[in-house]
């Protein structure tokens, strides 16, 4: 009995230990750096505890980096832009992913495994390479433009790359499987007798979708949206490769601060603000959805 409980604790402790070591500790370090100031040297920031101007050992935390982020309109704009891109691409993922997930969930059982495999198939190729491949497809003399010109549909190449369109496309393409999988899991659980019951009570199939299927798949929609929206906000590779120099997203700004400007404290403050701004609304949303779903 006692041993069993200890064993259970040990099993639970492993993932928590992992999270503590590789998520909470690094995050604490980032949080610490965000209160420091840049310095020349290695590491490129001032220590948090050290001699102050009077030579006394004291806490040297400063909120200057957060103030800078608040004052400089660039950061806010980049952040809002990221939210806009992420929200737009999330909606695209949902609109494409829902019918796909629904189709797979309603396919004959023998087919479902294969269809799901096809959804996961792109993961066998590196994410970076797949995003690079889009450059070849979208660029001025890329495959799509050449094909359209050859077909005589257009005279001049369409501006497909280095703009917002390319970013939306890249985000939607890359994150679609993360939307499909939770939606599929939810839709597959849906009892088909509920749809028969709806039909039996006078509800044609088209309306039954809105009355029964959609409300019952809301948890899957919420899970899928969260799963794609959060990483999209911080996305760096896609805006960098497909968005061109004019696309402003917070992930890219963060990268620039960190690697180009070597301003670790500002980059850290950005990372912390981003996390707070994304996590708090999500936590509230989750609580709200969770409350509505008490069974």
């Amino acid at each position: 009995m006692r041993e069993g409980r200890a064993g259970r604790r040990a099993v639970i402790a492993i993932p928590y230990l992992w999270l503590l070591l590789f998520f909470m500790v690094p995050f604490a370090i980032v949080l610490k750096i965000s209160f420091a100031e840049t310095a020349l040297g290695i590491p490129p920031f001032t220590p948090l505890i050290g001699p102050d101007d009077d030579g006394k050992t004291s806490l040297l935390a400063s909120l200057a980096n957060y103030r800078l982020i608040g004052d400089d309109f660039l950061y806010l704009r980049a952040y809002l832009n990221s939210l806009k891109f992420a929200a737009g691409a999330t909606v695209c993922c949902l609109l494409i992913g829902y019918p796909l997930a629904y189709g797979i969930a309603r396919a004959p059982r023998a087919w479902r495994g294969l269809l799901l495999m096809l959804v996961i198939l792109p993961f066998w190729t590196s994410y970076l390479i797949r995003v690079y491949a889009w450059i070849g497809l979208l660029k001025g003399n890329g495959i799509i433009n050449n094909l359209l010109i050859w077909a005589g549909l257009i005279g001049d190449p369409l501006p497909l790359l280095n703009n917002a369109f390319a970013v939306y496309l890249g985000l939607t393409y890359s994150y679609l499987p993360y939307m499909i999988l939770p939606l599929y899991a939810q839709l597959e659980k849906l009892d088909p007798t509920l749809l028969e019951a709806a039909a039996d009570l006078g509800c044609p199939p088209s309306r039954a979708f809105w009355n029964v299927t959609l409300p019952l798949s809301l948890p899957g929609i919420a899970a899928g949206c969260l799963l794609v929206f959060i990483p999209m906000v911080g996305e760096f590779v896609i805006p960098d490769l497909l968005g061109g120099p004019d696309t402003l997203m917070i992930g890219k700004v963060l990268w620039d601060e960190f690697f180009t400007n070597r301003d670790w404290p500002v980059a850290s403050a950005l990372a912390v603000s981003m996390l707070v701004l994304v996590v708090i609304p999500m936590a509230l949303l989750r609580k709200h959805l969770g409350g509505g779903e008490a069974r």
Binding site: D191, L194, E196, A197, A199, D200, L201, G202, C203
Partner: protein, 368 residues
Amino acid sequence: MPLGGDGGAPYLRIEGVTKRFAGHAAVNNVSLDIGRGEFFALLGPSGCGKTTLLRMLAGFERPDAGAILIDGQDMAQVPPYLRPVNMMFQSYALFPHMTVASNVGFGLRQDKRPKDEIATRVSKVLDLVHMGRHAQRKPGQLSGGERQRVALARALVKEPKLLLLDEPMAALDRKLREETRFELVRIQNRVGITFIMVTHDQEEAMTTASRVAVMQSGNIVQVGTPREVYEQPATRFVADFIGAVNLFDGKVVEARDGAVSVIVEGLDVPIQAQGAPLAAGTAVSLAIRPEKIVLTAAKPEGASNLVQGVVREIAYRGDLSTYRIDLPSQKAVRATVPNIDRLAGPAVEVGQQAWLSWSVSAPVVLTQ
């Protein structure tokens, strides 16, 4: 055959309906007439096609052949959502995201009934099934019995021409099932809607339905009142499926004046029975219900049919006791004795010889 309810033209007519799944006929050329206001039960073991037949009435399956007419109207081209039929599902199929009230009101909302009418009708039908107090609960917060009532209310509220019940009590425990049977009959009497119930439980069918159709591998083998199918089963299968029965295989040795003598394997004297005139030599089965066998310690006087055996087992069942008696041929016979008689008369104990006797009207002569 008299139809229950108000008689006249059949309210539901099933004509030569066949349904095949992968070449196998789940329902095979079934014809059936059901009258308005009947409580009709489709009874049979699992896989006999009763649920498929019910699903064809609801419109979830299309017959491969034959026609279904409800109140004179052919249902062939009518989709489930336009049929004047509501179903109570075995799993209840309550919408988990809606309250009890909105589950019940769902069908009325589909018909775009005015809001206040929906509210009145929902609360009326919830009162009928004693669920008025739980109107604002979600199905997940209800017990199995309560969910069953909500499912019934949801199917009743639209006042359909036919109410289909798919194993309505299968998910309830025994005690609740017995209460619910009476409740179901009470409600059916109140609303006057034609009920068609599918069940594999013969006791359930017998106690609720006004008429029963017994199904076996896609065919209807007998239709009749519960009394008819119990007292005059048409085939060995019906006799065996409905209630307990002792079956004796034998041959007719003599037939006259509506009575037959049947020589049964392992018995020296022929069994006397009433039955249709059958030629001597016809292979028949005799079905004798355990409660029609009289069990005595002493040899009874003047019994038409009399055999002796050894009591092997006595199962006490409260109101009655079931005896297993081995005949000299080793064939086991079951007899039930009301315990009120058993305790009054001289006791026959396990291992003792006993006399079994029955009247000429007790055995049913079956040719198939």
